[in-house]
Point group: C2
Chain length 187, copies 2
């Protein structure tokens, strides 16, 4: 009985028995859930890191005031970095909070239609903005450091590096949300 | 005979006949081919436009030599724009040529493994580089135009605009190749 083949013959062709099909279907769904769970955790991780680096950018740039010409608000590049850091920190904070809430209660805080597309667009735009801000601020900082190397230029360089790390985190996050957008389940 | 139900009864459950399943399968495959064909054309279009704008950036920046301080090679930001324009022009030219060849002969010129992933990565990196170059060159050009507005600053602004348009084309192309990476067929 143990070695009985679990197949049925339909219209002359051999097909697997219904129980086999069912267990196969269940294992596929369980595997999919496991994969989605892993992606959710990776996505949350990259967004938490993105929040951390964006917040550091914001903090370092906002406190980069040392009197005279060494105030960040005299330079449009640094003001741009600050604005982008505020935007990306808010976005990363909102998304992380939403994902942590979802992990805990299994309920989505904001159930807008096509939320995967919104996630992907948001991550991609945040990545583009951070890269743009970092790229804009690098030449000015380089030129200043050629003249004199002080606490103001060091803090600017640190803020730019943090913005670049935040960009990397957002680009990883956009990869994951792009993958989830393509493979969203309608179960 | 015409209204005969095209179903068979297997293990007590009613299932569609084999001919129905086959025609359904064929129509799904034909629909998929049509969709892939449309995506191929959109991807080619965006890459041809990306090539056009990248080449314009390269041309305008490389000929931006008007003597004295009005030579592009005195400024690292403009040199960066030129290098990125060379890279993105070469990449867009290669990809467009490959796609046109594929449309004509139905054969891929370079059949590396996981070519969809390489396409997506290439498009994304080209988009990031162009945005970075445009962002780096904007503050310098802005500052120059506040002092004096001449043919050198005008040409720089034009090159930056073209680089931005090329970035937009590459970002659209990366969206398409990202979609194709997720939905690649193994037929």
């Amino acid at each position: 009985m143990g070695n009985e083949p679990t197949t049925t013959t339909v219209n002359g062709t051999t097909q697997p028995a219904a129980t086999d099909l069912e267990s196969g279907g269940v294992s596929v769904i369980v595997e999919r859930w496991k994969k989605e769970d892993l992606l959710e955790k990776c996505s949350l991780g990259s967004r938490v890191f993105a929040f951390f680096f964006s917040f550091l950018t914001l903090l370092i740039m906002a406190t980069n005031i040392h009197g005279d010409w060494r105030d960040f608000y005299h330079y449009e590049e640094y003001r741009y970095v600050l604005v982008v850091a505020i935007l990306s920190t808010s976005y990363a904070c909102l998304q992380s909070w939403r994902q942590i809430h979802k992990l805990g209660t299994n309920k989505d805080l904001f159930s807008w239609p096509n939320s995967e597309a919104v996630d992907y667009g948001g991550d991609q735009i945040a990545a583009y903005l951070l890269l743009s801000a970092a790229s804009a601020a690098i030449p000015l900082t380089n030129r200043m450091r050629q003249g004199s190397d002080n606490v103001f230029t060091d803090a600017s360089a640190a803020a730019i590096s943090m913005a670049f790390f935040a960009f990397l985190c957002f680009s990883i996050s956009s990869l994951i949300s792009g993958y989830r957008l393509c493979n969203q389940s309608y179960i």
